[in-house]
Structure formats: C-alpha cells, structure tokens
C-alpha cells in the first residue's frame, strides 16, 4: 500500500520550528525556519529551581514545547488542527486517514523509541516533532527535521514513540493544516508584534527566574555554589548540567540565539527597520558568548583549566549584557529612532 504526497524535506536546527516551517511552506506560504521561530516569539531563558531534572534545576533556553506550534498558529492565523488520543490504535488509524486524505501530518513523539535515531542520541525526550508525509508498505515516510535526509519508520515503532508515557507525554499528538495557508498576511506587522511579545518575556518580566534576570541569577548561583565548603563535587556537577541543557538538548542555548539572529536579519531585509540589523549583530555576540561559556566550563570540569567560578559568572553576566543590548534595540522594533 502506498499513499502520500510529494513533499520537500528540509533539514532544520530545531525540530518544532523545522516542522512548522516545512508544513507552512508546503501549504503555500514559504517560511524559513528562523522566521517560524521568531514569529512565534520562542526565544527564552528560564532557570527554574523547583522543577528538577536528575536533581538539578530546569534550565531552558527557549519557550516550552508546543509554544512554536501555538504561537505560529495564532500569529499567522493558521487553520491548524491538533488531536490527541487515548487509544493508540485510534491514533494510528487517524494518522492513516489523514495520510490517505493527502495531508502532511505533524507528530509529537519520543526520541528514544524512534529507531532511525543514532544509538547515542536516544534519550527519553517525549516532545520531539516530526512530519509523516506518506506510507509505503509497513513503513511510514518521515521527514524528521533534524536529519539531513528523509527517513522511514516502521509502524509498530512509530506507535510506541507516539504513545510513550512520562514527562511531556505526547498522547499521540498529531496536527495538520486544514487547507492552504492564509493569504495576505502583513508580515511586518506580525514581526513587530512577535518581537515585542518576546521582549516582554526576556527583558521586562519581573521574575528572578526568567529572561535576562534569570541569566544573572544563574551567574550568581555558580559563585554561591563555589563558596559552599562541602560542595567540591556539586559545582562541576552543576556546570556539566548547564552545558548539557545548553548544548545537547535540542539545538542548544547558543543555537537558539543564532537562530533568532537569523530571524532578525531576515526580518530586517523584509521590513527595512534598521534596529533589527543591529540587534541581529548583538544577538550573534550573545550566542558566541554562550558558546564560550560552554567551552570554558567544560575545560574547568575536565581540569584543563583551574576551576574559577568568578570567571564563569562573568561570562554568564556578559551573555546577559549582550542580550540586554539586543533587547534594548528591540523594545520598539518598528521605530526609526
């Protein structure tokens, strides 16, 4: 049995923005991945001490899973429908039906149970997104945005991945666009709104755990940990955790800064607003500084450099300063100064 449509696979840096950009492009509105990311106001920072991941606080460099799908739907007025299922068999049947209707279907699934992932990348992360665009025999034709080429996935494995339980469980979540993408979207207006909404989260939230103040809290926490006499092992563990949250989960903390920079650059060309060009440069600097942090923290953890919490704190503060510089320019993106 073969069903499905001609679909252009495109590799992306991040799964959710990749799925959305490919789906919207397929529906007739060409949209780059950075555009999908920026328009959904997905850049973030959060340090949440009361949500623990293997005993360490949650550190996030972007908005939580699902924010790009929902944000883009609202911003562009997409005719997107999303379903979840209690019964795996019903979930697979609905997928088959959508495919035979010629739809390109987005799915949320667990990375661990997807057999096409390399062994070392298979962790229990339930909020991975991918596109299924057809069926051939017992295999589904999958466009997984983080892969270079389209892949295939056997039915039983896909069912298990969709219905894996645990944190962020998907419950077989599936979504698609009903009909073509809307026409006549005023992109400059939506870009302006998206940036201002993102500005509120990053630069104006009065909470010590989110945005720029969250970054500074992280910096202070590193120094505080280093002063605890009993905690010689705790600091390297915390640093390793930060780096892992930053570089390994998804596209990484710096990666999201570069993606947002790419969005600003593209938006600058589209709107002609000069502030966006300058802010793109500042955001690139911030991304570079996050990478520097990961590099030095790793060196210190491995003992190739003496452990100096003060230095690492300074690097994090620099990250915050550079992002602050970018967000200052973005407070009123459309203004010509």
């Amino acid at each position: 049995m073969t069903s499905g449509v001609a679909f252009q696979h495109r590799q992306s840096a991040h799964c959710e923005s990749g799925v959305m950009s490919s789906m919207v492009t397929h529906a007739g509105l060409p949209l780059s991945e950075p555009m999908a990311f920026g328009l959904s106001s997905a850049l973030a920072f959060a340090l949440i001490p009361f949500i623990k991941i293997s005993g360490q606080p949650l550190i996030a460099y972007r908005m939580p899973p699902g924010a790009i799908i929902r944000g883009l739907r609202r911003r562009l007025g997409l005719p997107l429908r999303r379903f979840t299922f209690r019964d795996p068999a019903a979930g697979m049947e609905a997928l088959d039906r959508a495919l035979s209707d010629g739809r390109v279907v987005g799915l949320q699934a667990s990375v661990y149970w997807l057999p096409y992932f390399p062994e070392d990348m298979r962790f229990h992360f339930n909020a991975h997104n991918l596109i299924v665009y057809g069926r051939e025999g017992g295999d589904y034709l999958v466009s997984d945005p983080v892969f270079e080429r389209a892949v295939r996935c056997e039915r039983a494995a896909l069912e298990k991945a969709r219905f894996a339980r645990g944190a962020l469980a998907s419950h077989g979540a599936m979504y698609f666009l009903e009909g073509a993408a809307p026409r006549g979207i005023e992109l400059p207006r939506q870009i302006d709104r998206a940036i201002r909404s993102n500005h509120r989260w990053m630069a104006a939230a009065p909470l010590p755990f989110v945005g720029l103040s969250g970054m500074r809290t992280l910096g202070r926490r590193i120094v505080k940990l280093s002063r605890k006499p009993e905690a010689t092992g705790a600091l390297p563990r915390f640093l390793a955790h930060i780096v892992r949250m930053q570089e390994e989960i998804g596209t990484g903390g710096a990666g999201f800064r570069f993606m947002y920079g790419a969005f600003l650059k593209e938006a600058a060309a589209l709107t002609g607003w000069p502030a966006l060009d300058d802010a793109a440069k500042a955001m690139t600097d911030a991304g570079d500084t996050w990478r520097l942090f990961a590099l030095r923290a790793t060196k210190m953890c491995k003992g190739r450099e003496p452990m100096e919490a003060r230095i690492l704190c300074d690097v994090v503060m620099q990250c915050a300063d550079r992002e602050e510089a970018a967000w200052k320019m973005l407070r009123r993106p459309a203004s010509r100064r």
């Binding site: 390399p118 570069f258 790419a262």
Partner: protein
C-alpha cells in the same frame, strides 16, 4: 559564530549524522551550515551516557550475584530511571523497588510482568532472565 568557525569535530555521538546550525557568512548574513559535531557537546553527551552505562553494568553485577532482580538491569538498559519506569508502568516507585528484590520478582504474576514488558519493549519471558553479558 562565523561560517568557518562551525565546529566539525566528527563526534562519535552523532553516529555519522550532521546537524544544522546557523552561522554568519562573509557578507554578514545568516546561512544554515551542517556540523559533524562539537567536542564540548560530545563531552556532555558522553558523560551522560557513561553514567547510564555505569548504572547498567552495576545493576547487571548485582543481578548476577542475586542482590537485585533482572528488572533493574533492564530498566537501565532502556535508559530509564525509577521515576520514568514508574510513570510508564503506572506502578508506584516503592512497588517497583520491591520488584527489584529477586525473591519477589520471581513470583510476579503474568499481568504485572506484561506491564513491564510493554513499558520496556522487552518480552515478558526475557524479563525474568538475565543476559549473559551486561
């Protein structure tokens, strides 16, 4: 990050794949560039994998010596911890911990074993035996 600074460290954790990252080209515009890995990221992934590997072989040794049940080994084999196994099976943590006791594990009913088999993706019959090597 400039286009030519995109790390190409051929990380073993990528299994021959390349990831896409955004970088700045000579004209100052952003382009997508494929990266074969970065040593810093590989170190973070490697440390997490080593931790899982250590827990797995430790559980295997204890199961071989009869100090835990094969279930604990299979949990680590599937890169799970007690919290995740509890969420995926619906059994409480203390109940699972009890099932780690070999004498209790040996008497588990077919239904309970089937729940573990489903969550771990391992045949119920295999769950009662330990593999030869970790």
């Amino acid at each position: 990050m400039d286009e030519d600074q995109v790390p190409q460290d051929a990380s073993p954790t990528y299994g021959g794949h390349r990831k896409l990252v955004y970088a700045v080209d000579r004209d100052g515009s952003y382009v997508g560039v494929r990266s074969s890995g970065w040593d810093v990221e590989a170190a973070a992934t490697g440390a997490a994998l080593a931790e899982i590997e250590r827990a797995k072989s430790d559980a295997w040794e204890r199961a071989r010596d009869g100090r835990t049940s094969p279930l604990e080994y299979y949990m680590h084999l599937r890169r799970m911890d007690l919290a995740l196994l509890s969420q995926t099976t619906g059994f409480s943590r203390w109940r699972i911990r009890r099932h780690f006791r070999p004498e209790i594990h040996a008497r588990l009913s077919k239904r309970v074993l089937a729940r573990y088999a489903e969550a771990l993706g391992i045949d119920a019959e295999r769950l009662t035996r330990l593999v030869e090597l970790p």
